[in-house]
């Protein structure tokens, strides 16, 4: 690391990355936008132009892909995605090297990227690293540190020009010959294309990859043709079984169900759970259970919520259908119920991740919501949350929308077990800060609930509650006494990634594992 400094939460972060000055994290809304939006080149389409090609190899030629360019992908196909691997295989066959990838997330099915990085086809993957690729990155796969960004933060970086995309390869389950595309129709339907919107807006060139070319015009236009250069038709964009994989089902574990009930009860006691209530839930099993209890409680009390933002599952769709919610804002579908609902119900609205979580736009959804239920691998005594690395320091997960949701919500709740096996989830200091403690309000475990002391209003509201309200330090002690504790991770002082906060400031550094 060239120069370093300490940010407002005491973490050591760089002052410069890849020749660009960066600022240390200074607070949840301390850093606003500066300058103008990025400006991709103008393009056109004449009546005689044909955008359709019958292979990815042809698409790569059409967009003049070259060495060291940055290519991007969305991850709406989740662990059933074939597009990234297909594109990168063709890039390798074309003899291209030094590519930089900017996917919205990575899944285990993208493991072939490790070999590509080892061969020099891929130079760097920015934005999100998890699973096998994260593990490899933790051992020094890439020649320089990558950026880890939240969903909202990724859109900010692209719009500001800090993360430039040369070519975006966007999978779509339905597309017409001009490039109007969506993910809600077709045999490989996966739902809204919230991640893809920013890529389509700002990439220099856009390739839509589809297995379902239909006559013009497609009427559900998640991506409008006005941004599309090439339409590549392939036999299949992904494995339908895998498309809905990687999301969790609602937990059935009694102790995790209890955590979910505690979270909803704390919310009820806080006074925020009333008519007009809005929320966001993560995809974790406890979060989904919390939504289920939320629904029960709201129905019983006759509370009608204004909206839910997601990451949407059938559990949330049920709330809309039964009149407990007035609208769903959906950037990503987690199951087929959500896919069906977004195409059938006008109150179920597709939005982009740009709208969802970019703090530097003029109408960020998370800034409107009352509550969010989020997970964690670790939470520390300052309420900082780690979702990226495990206690051993291995980079195994992306941030997702975690820090976006926590920053904007009036009450952000972390729902976690006190222990995972013997590993305490509440620690003295998290290995990696993914979401800063000044945006985290309540931590609910099966043994008790801790309230961030800076939230006087919540502390007062929950004072007379029957719930087991404890100091976070007491939860930490309990975790050690019950589990026995573990050793500190063995890390080097060599950075392999920087956690960039949603506003572009540097939140933390992730180090190579010994």
């Amino acid at each position: 690391m060239t120069g370093t400094t300490e940010n407002s939460i005491g973490r050591t972060v760089p002052t410069e990355v890849r020749g660009r000055s960066v600022s240390p994290y200074a607070g949840v809304f301390a850093t606003g936008p500066a300058g103008n939006k990025a400006t991709p080149p103008l393009g056109s389409h004449r009546p005689s132009d044909d955008k359709v090609v019958d292979s990815i190899a042809e698409a790569i030629k059409r967009v003049d892909l070259a060495d060291n360019m940055t290519v991007s992908f969305h991850h709406h196909l989740r662990n059933g995605d074939w597009v990234m691997n297909m594109v990168m295989e063709e890039i390798e066959k074309a003899g291209l090297k030094g590519m930089r990838l900017l996917p919205s997330a990575i899944f285990p099915c993208h493991e072939p990227m490790i070999a590509m990085a080892e061969k020099g086809v891929i130079d760097l993957i920015d934005g999100s690293l998890n699973g096998p690729l994260g593990r490899a990155a933790s051992s020094g796969l890439f020649p320089e540190p990558t950026f880890i960004r939240s969903h909202g933060g990724r859109t900010r970086a692209v719009e500001s020009g800090e993360a430039h995309i040369d070519v975006a390869f966007l999978a779509a389950s339905e597309c017409d010959p001009l490039g109007n595309a969506n993910g809600v129709n077709g045999p490989s339907a996966f739902g809204p294309m919230g991640f893809a919107w920013i890529d389509a807006q700002y990439a220099d060139r856009v390739v839509v990859v589809t297995d379902n070319l239909v006559p013009y015009p497609v009427t559900h236009m998640s991506i409008p043709s006005t941004h599309v250069d090439v339409v590549a038709v392939v036999p299949q964009i992904g494995d339908p079984e895998g498309i809905m994989s990687g999301t969790t089902r609602m937990t059935r574990s009694p102790s995790r169900l209890l955590i979910a009930r505690y979270a909803v009860a704390a919310l009820a006691d806080s006074g925020y759970l009333k008519d007009g209530f809005s929320f966001q839930a993560g995809a974790g099993g406890i979060s989904l259970a919390a939504v289920g209890y939320l629904h029960q409680y709201m129905k019983a009390k006759g509370i009608v919520g204004s909206f839910a933002m997601g990451g949407i599952t059938g559990v949330v769709v049920d709330m809309l259908r039964e009149g407990t919610l007035e609208a769903i804002l959906d950037a990503q579908a987690f199951d087929l119920a959500a896919v069906r609902s977004v195409s059938e119900d006008p109150a179920h609205v597709e939005v982009s991740h740009y709208m969802f979580g970019n703090p530097h736009n003029k109408g960020c959804v998370t800034h409107q919501q009352d509550a969010c239920f989020l997970g964690a691998t670790e939470v520390d005594l300052d309420f900082n949350v780690n979702v990226n690395t495990h206690s051993d320091g291995l980079l195994l997960h992306g941030i997702g929308g975690h820090s976006d949701a926590a920053a904007g919500s009036r009450v952000s709740l972390i729902v976690i077990p006190l222990l995972r096996g013997r590993i305490p989830v509440i620690v003295d200091d998290v290995v990696t800060v993914s979401t800063p403690g000044d945006s985290v309000d309540i931590v609910a475990t099966e043994r008790g609930i801790a309230i961030n002391p800076v939230r006087d209003d919540l502390v007062d509201a929950l004072k007379g509650s029957d719930l087991p309200i404890l100091d976070i330090g007491d939860l930490r002690k309990m975790a050690i006494e019950m589990g026995g504790g573990i050793d500190e991770p063995e890390l080097t002082d060599e950075p392999i990634a920087y956690v960039e906060y949603r506003d572009g400031t540097m939140l933390d550094t992730i180090y190579r594992v010994k």
């Binding site: 102790s255 029960q296 129905k299 019983a300 043994r447 029957d466 719930l467 006494e481 019950m482």
Partner: protein
């Protein structure tokens, strides 16, 4: 000690032992009997022993269900620490068995340096013979704080087919009568259909109508439902408050007799009233959904 819920935790299951105390059950029963195979009793004893000494059971009173043969029962009893409340004694058929347990407890309490009578006993009636002796068993020892029945073994021994609640009425009423006569709590058996939440509510309502103070739970998800079902209603709480106030007033004046609404009230009734008030203020459901429905709509549950 409230005894609305009695959560059984298999002593052979490490993860369940670790989580046993989080559900807020009034009683947690760490089981060394039926849920533990015969060749793994030692293993369960070791697990339960370490759990009792290291794990936090929150507000739950910790009991162990010991094995019914004397030799194994004593080994099981030796696992207890002063932090434990006592044992459930299965297949109880005689006062002799209770005397035996009492003797072992006397010795243990002496060795531990704790009050004599600290450890409590809850006999489980599981046979025709036991049922016929329920009254004398309930009255036999001060350590006995409650009595319950094991429906599966009991109904088998009685030659029942099914059985349904009608068939079990005599047996259950016998337990209630034996308990009340001895001034202890009658506790109903477990409800085995874990996924039938509505069935559990109905079963608890029925138990309460027969005079039981609580039910067994074989799954943590049942605990809150049981608490809500056995929660006293406003009328009961009001009546209990009057009784307790009258008893306190009488005690302050040094008068032995307690009168409420012109009628004499016996000490067991005062004790029950105290327990009703305790139950009214004890944690019920985390989300208080049932309370919400009763307060707001009076309509049926989901």
């Amino acid at each position: 000690m409230l005894m609305r819920s009695r959560l059984y935790v298999p002593g052979i299951q490490p993860k369940m032992l670790a989580a046993g105390g989080v559900y807020g059950a009034d009683i947690v029963v760490l089981d060394l009997e039926d849920s533990v195979p015969a060749d793994r009793k030692d293993e369960a004893r070791d697990l339960v022993s370490e759990s009792i000494r290291s794990m936090d059971f929150g507000r739950s009173a910790v009991f162990i269900r010991v094995n019914s043969d004397r030799e194994t029962a004593e080994l099981d009893m030796r696992v207890l620490t002063p932090a434990c409340a006592g044992i459930l004694f299965p297949k109880c058929e005689s006062v002799d068995q209770i005397r035996f347990i009492d003797t072992v407890f006397d010795r243990m309490e002496g060795e531990m340096g704790i009050d004599n009578g600290h450890f409590k006993i809850i006999p489980i009636i599981e046979s025709a013979l036991g049922l016929s002796k329920a009254g004398e068993i309930a009255l036999s020892e001060d350590r006995i704080v409650a009595i319950t029945l094991g429906v599966e073994d009991l109904s088998s021994d009685l030659g029942m087919i099914g059985p349904d609640e009608t068939a079990l009425l005599f047996a259950k009423s016998t337990i209630v009568a034996a308990a009340r006569a001895a001034g202890i709590e009658p506790l109903d058996s477990v409800f085995s259909r874990v996924d039938d939440a509505d069935g559990l509510i109905e079963a608890c309502r029925y138990s309460k109508s027969l005079g039981f103070s609580g039910r067994g739970a074989i799954h943590p998800n049942q605990v809150e439902t049981i608490h809500n079902a056995f929660a006293p209603d406003e009328r009961e709480v009001e009546r209990a408050r009057l009784i307790v106030e009258a008893a306190e007033a009488a005690e302050a004046k040094g008068i032995g007799a307690v009168k409420v609404d012109g009628a004499m009230v016996d000490p067991p009734v005062v004790k029950r009233a105290q327990r009703t008030i305790e139950a009214a203020s004890a944690p019920g459901s985390v989300l208080d959904l049932r309370k919400v429905e009763a307060d707001d709509t009076g309509e049926g549950e989901e």
